[in-house]
Amino acid sequence: MPRPEVKEITFSLDGREVTAPEGMMLVDAANKYGDTEIPVFCYEPKLGQPVGACRMCLVEIEGIPKLQTGCSTPVRDGMVVHTQTERVHAAQRAVVEFLLINHPLDCPVCDKGGECPLQDITYGWGPGTSRFIEPKRHFKKPLELSPLIAIDRERCILCYRCVRYSQEISEDYQLVLHERGAASYVGTFDGHPYVAPFSGNIIELCPVGALTSRAYRFRARPWDIEGAGTVCAGCPAQCNVELTVRDERVLRVLARDHDEVDDGWLCDKGRFSYQSVHSDERIVEPLVREGTELRPASWEKAISVAASALKKAGDRAAALAGGTTTNEEAFLLQQLIRDDLGSSHLSARTGPEQPLDVLRALADPKLQASVPDLEFAHTVLLVDCDPIDEAPVWDLRIRKGVRRHGTKLVVASARPTALDPVATSALRFAPGAGESFLVALDAALSGDTGNLGGAASAAGSNATAVREFAETLRAAGEEVVIVYGERALTGDAGRALLNVAARLNLGAIANAGLLALPGTPNGRGLREAGFAPGHGPGYTSVAAPGRDAAGIAEGLANGELHTVWLHHADPLRNYPDRGLWERALGTAQTVIAVESQLTDTVREHADVVFPAEAYPEKEGTLVHPDGRLQRLRPAIGRPRGTGGMPGSGVRPLWQVIVEVAKALGFETGSFLTGAQVSRKLFETVPFYAGITLDEIGGRGVRWVEREEFVSPDWDPASLSVPAALPPAGEGKLRLGTYRPLWAAKEVDLSPALQFIRARQVAELSPADAAALGIGDGDRIEVGNGTRVRAQAKIRAAIPAGTVFLAEGTREDNANVLTHGLVEVVRVGPGTTDPSAVPAQVQPAVEGLAEAPQSAPLPIPPREVT
């Protein structure tokens, strides 16, 4: 889709000539190009079309008799604007006076005080005093708008930002304005708590202290804090954030607006899970198992135990990485395990690996779509992923494209996605049948009718549906962006995906391409740093490819592998087949874990534990799924050990790997600073050549935009039809799993997010639920032999014959189940756990907002002087 062309125009601003892009709103043009601030409250370009409600930005434009709102007036060539006339000043003073009429002016006790646009604008443009002596309006306050957000309706200046956000950006349609005129107030329609994945953004949007973070309330004032920019490492979306730090503690997370990454929004997990950084349950010093117990140990001891275990293991060592592992850590660890010890058993994926030629072709810069492409493409195709759970801000980005630019969204997934309601077309296939679907789609696009029928039915769909879907995909235009989830990449799926891309000619079309949604936040970086069994840094071939994650588990279980290094990886929680991993870790001679808390994996199986850094403490680089290298900058110091002794406590993880390598006498042990490791990484990976940390800076560098990558053009070859999955029937349902946004250890450890922590919920279709006699909210068990307890949730969008369970939950994790077909048994009626249900918000108005007309106003007679 063509992006708007920008033409430069010149207009006059207070007698000066200013050049700005045509069509830019006057307030932006004045601020950015004219060095003149026009005050605004309701205007926020991120919220879409201006509404002109607050009237703060009134300016005089020659030729128009009335004052105009600068926020809604696009600049035109030759326009003559005055922002400093007495008439404009009078109007601006008037608006400030009006806004302050009902504002309590409790700035000394208000969280916003010191960073409040209303304060600033009052100082800059307000009248200084008020002539209003009537009683102000009163509401009960502060109230819980949600467990995360407090609302103070007296402070609200009714700018509509939060309501517009809820209605037009996050599209959760929860916030509305009640009543009318001066009695208006913000709330949810029926007073339920405003719980939504992106609710926290309204705190940042609020231009006054009406919406405040309950977690941050009264913790600090703006003059107590420092801002530290870094990147949120909670999911692959890698939003740019600014951490609010007071006394070496992270107290708040704010968005650090980056159009090409996050568009200035954050999800609630990213915004509130910083609390886990300061959890009491954090491991802050090395632990070594003595007998059956893990005991605190000195760094020297832990490193020597780990080093001797690795020495003994040699090429029978293995490593898994995940979570917030940086490129540097991955690079060093793969160098230690592969180059130094001679083992290629390195896995950063929970599932099977794709062949090297496929991986190289998928990483081809020509095929890489960027995040803004999601917004401007003609069509976005989601394959077996749901951005709301896997990279939440992408969900907002896709909604923005659909709403504002007419982007068509088509979804192909096993589980209904949150974006289905805005999709042009949604195709359901059986859980785990992503490969069959991609083969069928490839066949539909190439006109291979033979393959189409077989693959479509193997996917649990049919040829007509897939053909229609393929037509929809092509209908809107040639710029197609395919977002594929890592879980879809099994068997020939990678080849099929590349075929599809080749048939749609995505490599040759600018602004089109593929965008992978990896299973771990830095999935792409780990791969590019060489942390993979099949290739080294920069997709270089290796002599002896290693095992994938399941292979490592089997190798450990049957004694072929000795020692495993778990780098931010928690197999018992996050990897499929918990039973196998229990055996594997139980049999392994040494388990070295890098972890921040006592997970099941650590408590039961780890022999050496190195305390992990939280992302605000980390230094290093990450790679965004669209190929952007971003820097993690340490915002706070690492915690000290229990004694508080210098040198105890958490150490940088790159340094830990280096020290282990040094103890083993390897070359890897020669790095002295983190920056040296980064430099070595950039030198080693061919397509990072020439990049420096300085260049990455705060905005990142997309290597795919500047580097050629030698990869032959993909030649679509015919594929065989994958085997069909067993169908549901005889009382069994197909089992599908998904990873909820809230199933994460950071969420478990954040007090603010307890109310939304993921619990096991089994999603059933109404038909299956009726057949099994299960009601919404009933307690049920799902399984085949081994069973998982869950609460039933009946969703009309779930296809009949399928049940979906959450992965990665702390309790009742679906990864104990290994069969594709499961029984669902009702155990009993549901119980309502009072602590799980957020308290209802009380009715908003205490008594009447206004005194009754007939009653005398409670103003004492004034002394007239």
Partner: protein
């Protein structure tokens, strides 16, 4: 009564059964539709432009020009009839729709033909439920007779007409708020531009006109635009329905030729003041119009758009509300402010807070806890509202209240003193300057 008036809209308005299609057609109804369909849409538009007829809803914008702003093209266009007659004192559209609904239907069909709209709506205020029933019946009759629906009378023109009942908010009479309400949203005004003619209902070009304006369409077509333009004054052509209410002998709806002197309207049509009273002031065009004291000068004004504008008020919707010497201007001011405070949608700050504040100050005057300086603040607040709002509702309060203080300040002051005395507060001594620069004085800095 005024002689030589040719009533057009009110011609035989009380004929029994005029609301049925049979009687309407017998009287020549729907002939103008036939005539229009023979003409090119552009030719119909030319007649409207030639007539110079100005909108009867309040703003007085020329209808033909508004029609000509609708872009040509194949996009979906809409015509919306604004029958949300909520302006206090206005009740002309009610009588028109109740007694002669088919004239409105005919006018809408011709108007839609003229701009190429295929969907039309009548947005009627919820309180006019029984009138909406009459309109529904008329629309059904017109549909059965082939005047509405696909290919009207064999032409290429098709039109759907829907009668939509509003939910009772004054603001929904504002055209963009009306559109939002019609779309099923909260009735809040939209930012203009884009104007509805460019981007209105469901983002399509939309023509919005008042009931009386649209009813004039068949009349203009019958007379010919140029002929119609000869009625009235040069810039205010045609006849106008006026709703007279308040303290007069004969309140009611009257049709006048624009330009008729106010004296003739108030003394001849309305029968003058009640026994033993004298006129004090009036709202010339609904409660949003600035009040004019009924002096001889004002009584001699011709009642048309420009003369009233020149005199500092406006013709508005043609609703004349008259007060005599028995009415306190403070009560009028308070009632007016209360209405607008209650009806402000709350979207923009000056209107939301300004109407609220003004009402509170007027209430304080009534309660005997005010000083004459409060009048300065009220006037200043009204100044601060004027022209600074998103739509005209704020102005609609600021203008009458401001005019009342301007014309009747001595009465306000006397009222304040009297109520203060009754409240035992003693007289107010005007000492403190409380205009825009009011407030504590800056601290004196010691000399260097």
């Amino acid at each position: 009564m005024i002689a030589n008036i040719d009533t057009t809209l009110f011609k035989d308005i009380d004929e029994p059964g005029l609301n049925t299609i049979d009687v309407y057609q017998r009287r020549g109804g729907y002939q103008m539709l036939r005539k229009a369909l023979q003409m090119e849409p552009g030719a119909v538009l030319d007649e409207m432009l030639a007539s110079g007829v100005r909108g009867r809803g309040g703003a007085g914008f020329a209808m033909g020009r508004k029609m000509s702003f609708i872009p040509k093209g194949t996009m979906e266009k809409y015509l919306v009839c604004n029958a949300d007659e909520s302006e206090p004192g206005t009740f002309k559209d009610r009588e028109l729709m109740q007694k002669n609904p088919h004239l409105l239907v005919e006018g809408i069909i011709i108007g839609a033909y003229c701009i190429g709209a295929t969907k039309a709506f009548i947005f009627i205020r919820g309180e006019y439920d029984y009138v909406a029933d009459i309109l529904d019946a008329a629309v059904a009759e017109a549909k059965a007779a082939g005047y509405l629906g696909e290919r009207i009378l064999g032409s290429d023109h098709s039109l759907d007409l829907v009668v939509h009942r509003g939910a009772g908010a004054y603001i929904c009479g504002e055209e963009t708020a009306l559109l939002d309400s019609l779309e099923g949203k909260r009735g809040n005004p939209r930012l203009k531009p884009p104007f509805p003619a460019v981007q209105g209902l469901y983002q399509g070009p939309t023509l919005i006109n008042n009931v009386e304006t649209l009813m004039n369409v068949p009349v203009i077509l019958q007379m010919g635009g140029a002929e119609y333009a000869k009625i009235g004054t040069e810039t205010s052509t045609g006849t106008k329905l006026i709703s007279i209410s308040g303290q007069v002998k004969y309140p009611g709806n009257y049709e006048i030729v624009l330009g008729t002197p106010v004296r003739d309207i108030l003394f001849d049509l309305a029968g003058g003041p009640l026994e033993g009273r004298t006129f004090k002031a009036f709202f010339p065009g609904g409660s949003s119009a600035p009040v004019l004291p009924l002096t001889d000068e004002v009584l001699d004004l011709p009642y048309d758009f420009d003369s009233l504008a020149k005199a500092g008020s406006m013709l508005g919707s043609g609703a004349i509300i008259v007060f005599d010497d028995s009415t306190s201007i403070v009560d009028v001011a308070y009632k007016t402010a209360h209405f607008y405070r209650h009806e402000s949608c709350g979207k923009c700050s000056p209107c939301r807070e300004g109407t609220n504040w003004t009402e509170k100050m007027l209430l304080r005057i009534k309660n005997g806890d005010a000083t004459p300086m409060d009048l300065d603040i009220i006037a200043s607040v009204c100044e601060q509202i004027l022209g600074n709002c998103l739509c005209v509702l704020g102005d609609a309060m600021a203008m009458p209240i401001g005019s009342m203080i301007k014309h009747f300040r001595p009465e306000f002051e006397a009222y304040i003193e009297q109520r203060r005395e009754e409240a035992g507060l003693g007289i107010a001594i005007p000492q403190v300057n409380r205009d825009a620069s009011a407030g504590p004085k800056p601290l004196l800095r010691p000399a260097a």
